[in-house]
C-alpha cells in the first residue's frame, strides 16, 4: 500500500507541470484563414455582412441592419409616407447620421479590405494565381463600395489605403486629413478598375461581386461624381490642405460622365438584359417576378440574401396591409404617396399631371370598374396562385376572389394603370395574396342628384364635420377593424366598414394613411403566421441591369448636353429608356426628341427604382432636394364609397397629418461626427 501511495504521489509530482500556453479555440490566426478557400470565404462573409448596403434593414437616422422599416429615406423623396411621422414636425433628412456612426463602421470595413489586399499575396501560393487575383480584386471592390458610401454622404474623406497600426504608428501619422472629393471619386474609380481587371466574369457565389458588378459600381459612382461636378453649387476647401472637400470642379464633369458611360457599356458585355421571363401579356406579373426569380434572371447583378435566424429584415411586418396583419401587429408603415403614383402612365390626369378626381364643375368624378375588367392575383414569379393566405386574421367583407375575378369599384381609377405601377404599389381594390385589398376613407351617404362638390381642401379634418360622410374613426390612434371603424349597411344591402379593411385612417391608425400600400418587395407568398420580426427573407437586389441602363441614358444625356459628340448619345439614351418602358408596360417614347428635358430620364428613374433606396441619392446628386422639399406636404388619395350609386370618388389632398418636409442646402453634405473631429484634429467639418 505504501508503494502505491508513493507511486501516486510521484505521478502527481511528475504531472505537475501544466502548460499555460493554451490558445483559445474560438480565436484563429492568418495561417488558418488564408490557406483555404473556406477561410477566404469566411473572410468575405465577415465583410459582405457589414457592407453599408441600404437594404430593407436600412433606417434613416438609425443606420444599417436595423429591425425596423419605419424611418425610411424614401419619405423624403416623395416615394412614400411614414405613418410614424405624424405631422407635428418639419422633417429634415439626416442621411442616417444620428445614433449611427457610419463613418467609423465604413473605415472598419476599409481596414479589413486593406488588410486583405496586403496579406493575400503572402499566401497566394496556396491557390491558383487567377483565384488569388480574383479575391484581391474583390477586396478592391469592397473598398470602392465603402468609400462611395462615405463620399456620397461626406464628400472628401481621408483616403486610408493601408492598414494603420497603433502604437507602432504615432497618433500624428494616424490623423489623416480629408482628401478632396475628387480624389476620393478617383480612388473609387481606380479601385473599380482594379477589381474589373482582377476579378472573374461571374461571381464565385451568388451574393458576391464579379468584374461587371465592380464596373456597375463604377457606373453608379462616376455618375454621382459627374453630377456633383455639374450641379453642385456650394464648394468648401480645407483651409490647411487647400483640398476641396466639398464639391468637384465643373471641368471634371465630362470625364466622370464618360467614365460612367463607358462602365455601363462594359457591363453590357457581361450578358445582362432586362428581365422578361414571364409571358409578354402579363407585364405586371413579370415585374413582380423580377424580384423573386434569382435562378434565371439576367437582370439581377448583385443581391444580398438573408437566412432564418440571422437578422433578416422585418419588411413584411411593416408593409403588410392591415387586413392581412400578423399577430405581431404593425402594418402599412410606408405608404406610397399620390405624388409618386401620378408619375405613371395609364391614369386619368389633369393637364398639370395630377389625377383627375374632380370634373370641370368642381364635382367629384365617379369611378367604377367596368364589369369585364379582370385582375390577376400577382403572386409568384411562376404565377402560381397560393390561394388565400393561411391564417388570415381579419374577417373580410368581400368574398375571396379566385384568379382573374372581377374586382370592386374601388379599383376604378386604376383600371388602365401602367403595369409597373401596379407591380410597385397596391392601389385600392387591387389584389394581394388572393385578397382584394379594401382601402377606403369613408362612405358618402348624401344625396348626389346634383353631384358631389369638392370637400374643403384646407381642412385637416374634412370628413368628420361632413354630415354626408360616415368617416372611419376619429383618429385618436386606436382604430382597428372592429372598433372605431363602424360597419354600416349601404343601400344595396351589403355591409361595409367605413374605413375599409386596410384603411385609409387619417392619423396613426394601423391602416394606410395615403390610400396606397407598397407592393414592391412585399413577399406575395408569405403566410400571415410567418410575418414576424426579422422574418422576411426576400433577397435585396442591390444592383440590377435596369439601373445600369438608366445610368447609361443619363450619362449619355449629360455628355450630349456638355457637347460631346463622339457617340450618338441621344439615340443611345432613347434606346435605353424605351427598353425600360417597354418592359414596364409604359407608353414608349417616339423619338430621341422626347428626351429633350433631362426630367424625362429622371422621372423614369424614380418610377423604375422606386423603393430601392436609390432615389434619395439621385436627388442628392441632382441637387434637386432643396427645391422639392420646401415645407412640402405629400399628397394622399382618399377613396370614398358613394352609397347612392355604388361607385367611388377619390379625394386628393395634402396629408391630413400635415407632416412637412424641408431640405436645407446644408444637408447635401452630412456633418462629420463630432467625436471624429476630437480624435482627429486634422479633420475639417462640412460647412
Amino acid at each position: 500500500m505504501k508503494k502505491i501511495a508513493f507511486i501516486f504521489i510521484a505521478t502527481v509530482l511528475l504531472a505537475a507541470c501544466n502548460k499555460l500556453d493554451v490558445p483559445p479555440s474560438s480565436i484563429i490566426q492568418d495561417p488558418q484563414v488564408f490557406t483555404s478557400a473556406g477561410g477566404i470565404e469566411a473572410y468575405f462573409a465577415g465583410l459582405y455582412n457589414r457592407l453599408p448596403i441600404e437594404d430593407l434593414k436600412f433606417a434613416n437616422g438609425e443606420g444599417y441592419n436595423q429591425f425596423n422599416y419605419i424611418d425610411n429615406i424614401n419619405i423624403f423623396t416623395g416615394e412614400g409616407m411614414n405613418k410614424n411621422v405624424n405631422g407635428w414636425a418639419n422633417m429634415s433628412p439626416n442621411n442616417g447620421s444620428t445614433g449611427h456612426n457610419i463613418y467609423y463602421d465604413c473605415y472598419y470595413i476599409i481596414r479589413q479590405a486593406n488588410y486583405f489586399i496586403e496579406t493575400m499575396p503572402q499566401y497566394a501560393s496556396n491557390f491558383t494565381s487567377d483565384q488569388s487575383r480574383n479575391w484581391v480584386g474583390e477586396a478592391y471592390f469592397i473598398r470602392a463600395f465603402t468609400y462611395f458610401e462615405l463620399a456620397k454622404r461626406f464628400g472628401g474623406v481621408p483616403l486610408v489605403l493601408t492598414v494603420q497600426n497603433y502604437p507602432q504608428q504615432s497618433l500624428d501619422e494616424l490623423q489623416v486629413p480629408r482628401n478632396s472629393e475628387q480624389e476620393v471619386y478617383d480612388q473609387i474609380g481606380a479601385d473599380c478598375d482594379s477589381a474589373y481587371t482582377m476579378m472573374f466574369a461571374t461571381s464565385e457565389e451568388r451574393g458576391r461581386a464579379n468584374r461587371y458588378v465592380a464596373e456597375g459600381l463604377k457606373s453608379r459612382a462616376m455618375l454621382f461624381a459627374g453630377s456633383i461636378a455639374k450641379y453642385n453649387q456650394k464648394d468648401y476647401e480645407d483651409p490647411d490642405t487647400h483640398k476641396r472637400v466639398e464639391g468637384i470642379d465643373a471641368s471634371q464633369a465630362v470625364r466622370y460622365f464618360k467614365a460612367s458611360y463607358d462602365a455601363s457599356l462594359a457591363v453590357a458585355q457581361g450578358g445582362y438584359t432586362l428581365y422578361r421571363n414571364t409571358a409578354a401579356t402579363d407585364k405586371v406579373g413579370n415585374y413582380v417576378n423580377l424580384f423573386y426569380d434569382l435562378t434565371n434572371n439576367k437582370e439581377v447583378m448583385w443581391t444580398k440574401e438573408y437566412s432564418q435566424g440571422n437578422a433578416a429584415s422585418s419588411f413584411d411586418v411593416f408593409a403588410v396591409p392591415l387586413q392581412e396583419q400578423a399577430p405581431i401587429g404593425y402594418s402599412s408603415y410606408i405608404d406610397p404617396t399620390e405624388n409618386f403614383v401620378e408619375l405613371f402612365d395609364g391614369l386619368p390626369k389633369n393637364p398639370d399631371g395630377s389625377l383627375k378626381t374632380v370634373d370641370d364643375n368642381g364635382h367629384y368624378v365617379y369611378y367604377g370598374a367596368t364589369p369585364t375588367t379582370t385582375q390577376k392575383p400577382y403572386s409568384t414569379f411562376n404565377d402560381i396562385n397560393p390561394g388565400p393566405a393561411s391564417g388570415s386574421t381579419i374577417e373580410t367583407d368581400v368574398n375571396t376572389p379566385s384568379s382573374n375575378q372581377i374586382i370592386s369599384n374601388e379599383y376604378g381609377l386604376f383600371e388602365h394603370a401602367e403595369p409597373r405601377l401596379l407591380a410597385t404599389v397596391i392601389v385600392p381594390g387591387s389584389m394581394f395574396k388572393g385578397e382584394i385589398i379594401d382601402i377606403r376613407r369613408g362612405i358618402y351617404t348624401g344625396d348626389i342628384s346634383s353631384g358631389i362638390p369638392q370637400f374643403n381642401q384646407s381642412s385637416n379634418n374634412p370628413y368628420s364635420n361632413n354630415p354626408n360622410i360616415v368617416p372611419n374613426t376619429s383618429g385618436d390612434g386606436t382604430p382597428n377593424v372592429n372598433i372605431g371603424n363602424p360597419a354600416i349597411q349601404v343601400p344595396d344591402g351589403t355591409t361595409l366598414r367605413s374605413g375599409g379593411l386596410s384603411g385609409v385612417f387619417g392619423n396613426r391608425g394601423s391602416g394606410t394613411i395615403s390610400g396606397f400600400l407598397i407592393r414592391k418587395y412585399s413577399d406575395p407568398t408569405k403566410p400571415t403566421a410567418t410575418i414576424v420580426a426579422a422574418g422576411s427573407y426576400q433577397p435585396w437586389i442591390e444592383m440590377r441591369y435596369a439601373e445600369i441602363e438608366l445610368n447609361r441614358a443619363e450619362a449619355a444625356w449629360e455628355l450630349n448636353s456638355l457637347g460631346q459628340t463622339d457617340h450618338n448619345y441621344m439615340e443611345d439614351a432613347f434606346e435605353m429608356i424605351n427598353d425600360i418602358r417597354d418592359r414596364a408596360g409604359a407608353t414608349l417614347l417616339q423619338s430621341p426628341a422626347d428626351l429633350a428635358d433631362i426630367d424625362t430620364i429622371r422621372r423614369e428613374r424614380r418610377k423604375e427604382l422606386a423603393f430601392e433606396n436609390k432615389i434619395y441619392w439621385d436627388m442628392i446628386r441632382w441637387r434637386t432636394f432643396d427645391v422639392a422639399l420646401n415645407n412640402t406636404v405629400w399628397k394622399v388619395l382618399n377613396p370614398i364609397y358613394v352609397a347612392a350609386n355604388g361607385k367611388y370618388i377619390y379625394d386628393s389632398r395634402p396629408y391630413e397629418g400635415n407632416a412637412k418636409f424641408t431640405f436645407p442646402i446644408k444637408s447635401y453634405y452630412q456633418q462629420i461626427p463630432a467625436a471624429e473631429l476630437t480624435t482627429n484634429p486634422k479633420l475639417v467639418q462640412n460647412q
Binding site: 470565404e41 469566411a42 455582412n49 481596414r111 486593406n114 432564418q308 437578422a311
Partner: protein, 1173 residues
C-alpha cells in the same frame, strides 16, 4: 427498524428499506441511496479521548469538557465501574455509546444535558422519600463576582432552583443529595451536600464556543485564534430555513453575505449574492462573484445553489485578506463549503421529509372588464383636443348586466399555490479504519402555472469515505452528483406574464363555451398572445432543461516519518457537468370571432417564424484539479505553535457545446423528424484553460496571545497574456488576544470578558474576470458570434446558404491583466459573561485597481479599429459588518438571540470618462465620476399631485406646454434648479443603489444595508427558530405595467383604479367646472416619470421580513427507544411569512428588469419530520 411514510402517501419510499441496505453494502464504497433528511440530533462537537481503566466519572468529565454537555444522573445508578475507551473525533452519541457499553445504562439528551438512567429505570424516577432540609449558598465566578440565574438542580430528583441577583440560592434537599450547578458559559459542577447547610460555589468558565473549529483557506482554525475576518455557519443552522436554493437559506444568517432572491421559479436558481458588496461589476462589464470552494475544489455557482442542505457540515465566508490564499480568484471573497463526513460508530440512518406548499407572493390584481372599460374611457377622455368616450355605454352595458363576462386571464393562467417536496436519506458511521457519509436527496418543486407547465426535480447523492490504509497513510474519496430537470413552457416566463397581464378582460380566453378553441386576444388590438395556450404544452410546446453535475475526488495523506507533524497530501478531483436543453416551440391555432355569432376564423400563431421548431442544446464541460501539499504542525516549547503549508495546485478546463434546430412540418417534437430546410447544427467552441498555482502559508501562534498568518500565492493562468503569465498575491492577518495578557486575567473588573481580540489584515488579491476576453490575442473570432443578434448577422448568405464570417479582433492589448484588490480589515472579537454575549465587529476597505476601460484618447475613426480595453479604472468599497449573539438559559429554556448587519458601498476612485458639454451635464450624465458612489440614482423630485385646475393655473413652474394639458391629480415634479421649467435640468440624485453595468442598464443588486436577526429557543422537546431578515438603502423603479395603466391598450393592475377622475365619467376633464374624485394615482393617461420619485416611480424598497419560522418537537427518547428509533423530530416551517415594507403591491426583492414581468417570489409553508435510526 421501522419505516415511516413520508407524508400523505404521495411520496412513499419506493422499496423496502432492508433491501436497499443490502444493495448499499454491495456497493459500499461507492454510494448509498437515501432520502433526504436531517439528523435532528447531529451533535456537532466531537470527542477525542483515550483512557485506560479510568473511573467512569472521569470519562464523563472529559466528555463534558470537550462538548459542553453536562451529565445528570442519580449517583446510585452509576456503577463504580472503570472504563477503557479510545475515541477520535467521535460524535457525542458514539462517545456515550462507547463509554457506557456494557454498563446497562440508558442515556437521553435534552438541550445541553445528558440524562443517565439504569436500563430499567427512567432518569427522572423519583428517589425514595426522605425528610428534606435546607441548603443555601452563593455562586460566584472565578473572580468572585456573583452569578445570577444559575441553575441548581438536585440530582436524581429533577427539581431545583436558580440563584437570585446576588448569586444566592436556597433549596430543600434530601440527605446526601448531589447538586448540579450549571450555568451557560461555565463548566457545570456537581456538589455533594454532605450535611452542609451553606455551600458556596465558584464556577469556572467554559470555552467551548471559542474552541470551535472553523474552516479557513486550506485548513482549519480554532475560533479563538482566528486572525482573519471569517464568518461561519454550521449545517444545522442552514436547514432551519426551508427553501430549495441553498443561497436563499443563508439569507440574513451571515454578516457580510448579501443576498437578493429574484424569483421562486422552479429550477431557475436566480438570485444575486455577494460578500460585502464585492461583486459590483467592473467597468469591463464582467460581473465578478465570490470564489466558491466545496471540499477543497473550486466550483461554479450552479453547484453551490443545488447542494443538498443536509449534506453541509459548515460554510465559511472569507471576507478579508484571509482569502488572499486563493490569490487571483479571491478579490470578491471566498465561500468555503465543507460537507459532512462519517464518524466512527454505529451506522446512523436519518431520513427527513418536508412537504411544502408554495403560495404566490404579491401577484398584482388586475381589473375586470367593467373596470378596464372605465380606465380605457378615462384614457380616451384624457385628450385635450378631442375628449371622447372610446367605449360608448352600448358597449359597456352588456358587461354590467352580465350578458358578457369578464375574462380573468390571471386565474386561468396561474394557480395561487403549488406543492413542493424534499426528501433526504443519509447514512453515516465508521470503524477504526473506515468512516463514511452517504446521502441521497430528492426535491420536487411545482410552479404556479396551470397544467403544471413549469416544474423542477432534482436528485443528488454524495459519498464521502475516509479510510486509514496503513498507520501512516490515509485515503479520502468523495463522490457527488446532482441531476436535475426543469420543465418549462416553450415561451419565456416573463413573456407569459407580459401577455397575461396585458390581455384585456373584454377578450375571452376561449371563443366558445366548450373551451375547445383558444381565442386570439390580439385580434382587436387589446391584447397579445393567449397566455393560457402559452402554458399548455399541447398547444405551444414545451421546454426541458436538464443538467448533471458530477464530482469525484481522491486524496492520499501520508504522515511523514521522522518529523512529527509533517504530512504530505496528494489530491485529484474531476468535475464533469452536462447541460442538455430542449425547446419545442410549437405553432398553435387561436381563433378570431367571425362575421356571424358562432363563427370563428383560425389564426396560426406561435412557433419560430410561424413554424414549429425543435431546438436542442447540449453542453459539456470538465475540469481536472490536482493538488499536492506539505503540511507541518508543531508546538515548540509549549508556547510557539507553528503551522506551515506548502502547496501546489493546477487546474485544466475544457468543454463543448452543440446546438441544433429544425423546423417540424409534422406535429412532432423530435429533432430527427424535422425538416432539413433551414436547419441549424452548430458547435460552439469553449475555450480551454489551464492554471497552476503555488501557495505558501505560515501560521504562528505565541501562547494563543499573539497570532499571525502569512500567506503568499503565485497564480499562473492561460487567460493571462504570455508576457505576464504569473501574479503574486501576498496576505497577512494578525491578531492580539488582550484577554490572554496576565494583567487582564488578574483583573477582577475585566473578569466578565472571556475573550477580547483585535484583528487586522491586509492582502493583495486578484480578480481575473477581465481577462476572459483574451484581449491580448489578435486575429479573428470564428465563428464570429453575434456582434448584435438583433441587427448584424455573424455572416453572409452566399448562394442561398448562410456562411459564417470572421470576426475581426482589431488592436490588441498585450498587457491586459487581472484586477488587483487591496483589502484591509480591522476587527474585534469579544465574548462576555461566559458566552452570554458574543460580539464581532469589522471595518473593511477594498481598493481595486486595473478595472477595464478604454482610454479616452480614441484613435481617429479612419484607422478602422478602436483601442482595446486597458486596466485603467479603480474603485473602493468600504463598510462594516457587525454580529452580536447571546445564549441564555432559564431553567429548561435555552434561548439564542443573534443579529447581524452589514453596510457596504462602493465609489469610483478613477473612472475614465468623456467630458460633457457642461459641468451639469458632466455631473448628471457621467454616471460614474471620480469619488462618487457607483450607485447614485439620478432622477426627478416629486412634490405631490395637483389638487385643482386653479392650482394648475397658478402653478409657477412650467411642466411642459404651459401646463395646458395638466389635470387635477397630475404629478407635480420638482423644479430642482428653480428656473421655472420642469425639464432635463432638474435631474439630480434622488436615491442610492442603482448600479449600472457597462451597457448603462440598471442591474439587480444588493441593498447597501443588509441585516438579520434570529431567535432560537428550546424547551424540553420543543424548539423554535425565527429569522428576520431585511435590507435598507434599496430603491427600485418598475417600468410600464407597474408604473402606469393600459400600456398598449392592455389590461392594468387594479391599483390604478385608485386614481383621480371626474366624478361624472362623461364630463370633459378639461372643463374647470368638472368635479374630481381624488386618488393615489393621476388620471388615467398620465404617465409617471419613471425616474422620479412618487407613485410608480423610484420608491424605497427597504424591508424587514420574517424569512423563516420553524417550530419543532423532538419526541422523548423513552417513547422512541421502544421502536429502535434514536430520534424523531417533527416540525412546521414558514418561509417568507411576513414582509414589512413601504413598497406597494410588489415584493421588494422582485426584480425590475424585463419590465418587472417576472415570475413572482413565494411564501412556503412546510411540515415535515426527521427520523434517525
Amino acid at each position: 427498524m421501522k419505516i415511516f411514510y413520508a407524508y400523505g402517501g404521495r411520496q412513499m419510499l419506493p422499496s423496502p428499506f432492508r433491501q436497499l441496505l443490502l444493495a448499499m453494502k454491495l456497493t459500499a464504497v461507492l454510494l448509498m441511496v437515501v432520502f433526504l433528511g436531517v439528523n435532528a440530533k447531529s451533535f456537532s462537537q466531537s470527542v477525542t479521548y483515550q483512557a485506560k481503566n479510568v473511573p467512569l466519572e472521569q470519562a464523563f468529565s472529559a466528555i463534558r469538557q470537550q462538548t459542553g454537555y453536562t451529565f445528570f444522573y442519580n449517583n446510585a445508578d452509576i456503577p463504580h465501574a472503570r472504563v477503557s475507551v479510545s475515541l477520535e473525533h467521535a460524535s457525542l452519541s458514539e462517545a456515550l455509546d462507547r463509554v457506557l457499553k456494557g454498563l446497562h445504562l440508558n442515556y437521553s439528551v435534552h438541550g445541553k444535558t445528558i440524562f443517565l438512567s439504569t436500563a430499567s429505570a427512567q432518569a427522572n424516577a423519583p428517589v425514595a422519600a426522605q425528610p428534606d432540609r435546607n441548603v443555601s449558598g452563593k455562586v460566584t465566578d472565578a473572580k468572585g463576582e456573583a452569578l445570577s440565574g444559575v441553575s441548581i438542580r438536585i440530582k436524581g430528583r429533577g427539581t431545583g432552583t436558580t440563584t437570585d441577583n446576588d448569586g444566592h440560592f436556597s433549596l430543600e434537599v434530601p440527605e446526601n443529595a448531589v447538586l448540579e450547578i450549571s450555568f451557560l458559559g461555565y463548566e457545570t459542577q456537581d456538589v455533594s451536600t454532605n450535611n452542609l447547610s451553606v455551600i458556596n460555589i465558584t464556577l469556572q468558565p467554559s470555552t467551548t464556543s471559542l474552541n470551535q473549529l472553523v474552516v479557513v483557506g486550506y485548513g482549519e482554525q480554532q475560533k479563538a485564534t482566528l486572525t482573519g475576518s471569517v464568518a461561519a455557519i454550521s449545517g444545522d443552522q442552514i436547514v432551519k430555513t426551508k427553501t430549495e436554493n441553498i443561497i436563499n437559506t443563508l439569507s440574513g444568517k451571515i454578516p457580510g453575505l448579501r443576498i437578493v432572491q429574484n424569483t421562486a421559479e422552479p429550477g431557475a436558481y436566480n438570485n444575486t449574492f455577494d460578500i460585502r458588496g464585492f461583486s459590483a461589476s467592473g467597468s469591463g462589464g464582467a460581473v465578478s462573484s465570490p470564489l466558491i470552494v466545496i471540499d477543497g475544489v473550486p466550483q461554479d455557482q450552479g453547484v453551490l445553489q443545488r447542494l443538498d442542505p443536509n449534506d453541509i457540515a459548515s460554510i465559511s465566508i472569507l471576507k478579508d485578506a484571509s482569502a488572499a490564499v486563493y490569490g487571483v480568484q479571491a478579490a470578491n471573497g471566498v465561500i468555503l463549503v465543507t460537507t459532512k463526513r462519517g464518524k466512527k460508530g454505529q451506522m446512523q440512518i436519518s431520513y427527513g421529509v418536508t412537504q411544502m406548499t408554495q403560495v404566490v407572493n404579491k401577484l398584482p390584481k388586475l381589473t375586470n372588464a367593467l373596470q378596464y372599460l372605465t380606465l380605457m374611457n378615462e384614457m380616451s377622455m384624457h385628450n385635450i383636443n378631442n375628449p371622447v368616450l372610446l367605449f360608448p355605454p352600448s358597449f359597456v352595458t352588456p358587461y354590467q348586466d352580465g350578458t358578457l363576462k369578464s375574462a380573468d386571464w390571471t386565474t386561468a393562467t396561474m394557480d395561487k399555490t403549488a406543492p413542493e417536496w424534499q426528501h433526504s436519506l443519509t447514512a453515516s458511521g465508521g470503524s477504526d479504519k473506515i468512516n463514511y457519509f452517504l446521502s441521497f436527496g430528492y426535491l420536487k418543486q411545482d410552479g404556479f402555472f396551470k397544467n403544471n407547465a413549469e416544474n423542477y426535480r432534482k436528485y443528488n447523492f454524495r459519498s464521502n469515505i475516509d479510510a486509514q490504509i496503513t498507520k501512516r497513510i490515509s485515503l479520502s474519496m468523495q463522490l457527488a452528483g446532482i441531476s436535475d430537470r426543469q420543465n418549462t413552457p416553450s415561451i419565456a416566463d416573463w413573456n407569459i406574464f407580459s401577455t397575461m397581464w396585458r390581455n384585456a378582460p373584454i377578450n375571452p380566453i376561449y371563443t366558445d363555451s366548450t373551451k375547445a378553441f383558444y381565442s386570439n386576444p390580439s385580434y382587436n388590438g387589446y391584447g397579445f398572445a393567449n397566455s393560457v395556450a402559452e402554458i399548455t404544452p399541447g398547444q405551444s410546446g414545451y421546454g426541458l432543461n436538464k443538467s448533471q453535475r458530477f464530482q469525484g475526488g481522491l486524496s492520499l495523506t501520508y504522515d511523514v516519518p521522522y518529523l512529527d507533524g509533517l504530512k504530505a497530501k496528494a489530491f485529484y478531483n474531476y468535475n464533469y457537468n452536462v447541460q442538455d436543453n430542449k425547446n419545442y416551440n410549437k405553432t398553435y391555432t387561436v381563433y378570431n370571432p367571425g362575421a356571424n355569432p358562432g363563427d370563428y376564423v383560425p389564426v396560426v400563431t406561435g412557433g419560430n417564424n410561424g413554424q414549429s421548431q425543435v431546438s436542442q442544446y447540449y453542453a459539456s464541460g470538465n475540469t481536472g484539479f490536482l493538488q499536492f501539499s506539505l503540511n507541518y504542525t508543531h508546538t515548540f516549547a509549549k508556547i510557539h505553535h507553528v503551522e506551515a503549508l506548502a502547496l501546489y495546485e493546477q487546474q485544466t478546463s475544457s468543454g463543448n457545446i452543440f446546438q441544433a434546430e429544425r423546423y417540424e412540418t409534422l406535429n412532432t417534437d423530435q429533432l430527427s423528424a424535422g425538416s432539413a430546410a433551414n436547419q441549424i447544427g452548430q458547435g460552439v467552441s469553449v475555450n480551454p484553460s489551464a492554471s497552476k498555482s503555488e501557495v505558501g502559508k505560515l501560521h504562528y501562534d505565541y501562547n494563543s496571545k499573539y497570532l499571525v498568518d502569512f500567506t503568499i500565492r503565485r497564480d499562473g493562468s492561460s487567460l493571462f497574456p504570455p508576457s505576464k503569465p504569473y501574479g503574486v498575491f501576498p496576505g497577512v492577518t494578525a491578531a492580539y488576544r488582550i484577554s490572554e495578557e496576565p494583567f487582564f486575567k488578574r483583573s477582577k473588573g475585566l473578569s466578565f470578558i472571556d475573550n477580547l481580540k483585535i484583528r487586522g489584515s491586509y492582502g493583495i488579491l486578484g480578480d481575473a474576470s477581465g481577462t476572459n476576453g483574451y484581449n491580448f490575442v489578435g486575429g479573428y473570432n470564428y465563428p464570429a458570434g453575434n456582434p448584435n443578434p438583433q441587427n448584424l448577422p455573424p455572416g453572409s448568405v452566399f448562394n442561398g446558404e448562410f456562411v459564417n464570417g470572421l470576426g475581426f479582433r482589431g488592436l490588441t492589448n498585450p498587457n491586459i491583466t487581472w484586477y488587483t484588490a487591496r483589502t484591509t480589515d480591522f476587527g474585534l472579537d469579544a465574548d462576555f459573561w461566559n458566552g452570554k454575549l458574543q460580539v464581532t465587529v469589522d471595518y473593511f476597505n477594498r481598493y481595486r485597481t486595473g478595472l477595464l476601460a478604454t482610454e479616452l484618447l480614441n484613435l481617429p475613426g479612419s484607422v478602422g479599429a478602436t483601442l482595446p480595453q486597458e486596466n485603467l479604472n479603480s474603485d473602493e468599497t468600504r463598510g462594516y459588518d457587525l454580529s452580536v449573539a447571546s445564549d441564555q438559559q432559564f431553567g429548561k429554556l435555552f434561548l439564542h438571540l443573534g443579529g447581524n448587519l452589514t453596510y457596504a458601498r462602493t465609489r469610483w476612485i478613477k473612472y475614465i470618462k468623456a467630458a460633457q458639454g457642461s459641468d451639469y451635464a458632466d455631473w448628471v450624465n457621467n454616471g460614474d465620476v471620480n469619488g462618487r458612489y457607483n450607485d447614485v440614482w439620478f432622477g426627478y423630485g416629486y412634490e405631490g399631485q395637483f389638487q385643482s385646475i386653479s392650482q394648475i393655473q397658478d402653478y409657477p413652474v412650467n411642466e411642459g406646454g404651459g401646463n395646458r394639458g395638466n389635470l387635477p391629480g397630475d404629478y407635480i415634479y420638482q423644479d430642482w434648479n428653480q428656473d421655472g421649467y420642469f425639464d432635463g435640468g432638474d435631474i439630480h440624485p434622488v436615491a442610492g443603489t442603482k448600479p449600472v453595468n457597462s451597457q448603462g442598464t440598471a442591474t439587480p443588486s444588493a441593498p447597501i444595508i443588509n441585516f438579520g436577526f434570529n431567535i432560537g429557543a428550546s424547551y424540553d422537546g420543543f424548539d423554535l427558530t425565527a429569522l428576520f431578515q431585511g435590507a435598507a438603502g434599496k430603491w427600485i423603479s418598475y417600468p410600464i405595467a407597474y408604473s402606469y395603466p393600459l400600456d398598449h391598450n392592455g389590461n392594468s393592475f387594479a391599483k390604478f383604479l385608485n386614481d383621480w377622475h371626474p366624478s361624472d365619467p362623461t364630463a370633459n376633464p378639461y372643463d374647470p367646472h368638472t368635479v374630481w374624485v381624488p386618488g393615489y394615482y393621476a388620471y388615467t393617461g398620465t404617465h409617471i416619470n419613471a425616474s422620479s420619485t412618487g407613485p410608480g416611480g423610484v420608491n424605497n424598497a427597504a424591508y424587514v421580513r420574517l424569512k423563516s419560522l420553524e417550530l419543532g418537537y423532538t419526541l422523548p427518547d423513552h417513547l422512541l427507544s421502544k421502536v429502535n428509533i434514536k430520534s424523531l423530530r417533527i416540525f412546521v416551517n414558514g418561509y417568507d411569512l411576513l414582509t414589512i415594507t413601504g413598497l406597494k403591491g410588489v415584493d421588494p426583492e422582485h426584480p425590475s428588469d424585463l419590465y418587472g414581468d417576472q415570475y413572482p417570489l413565494n411564501h412556503i409553508l412546510s411540515a415535515g419530520l426527521n427520523v434517525t435510526f
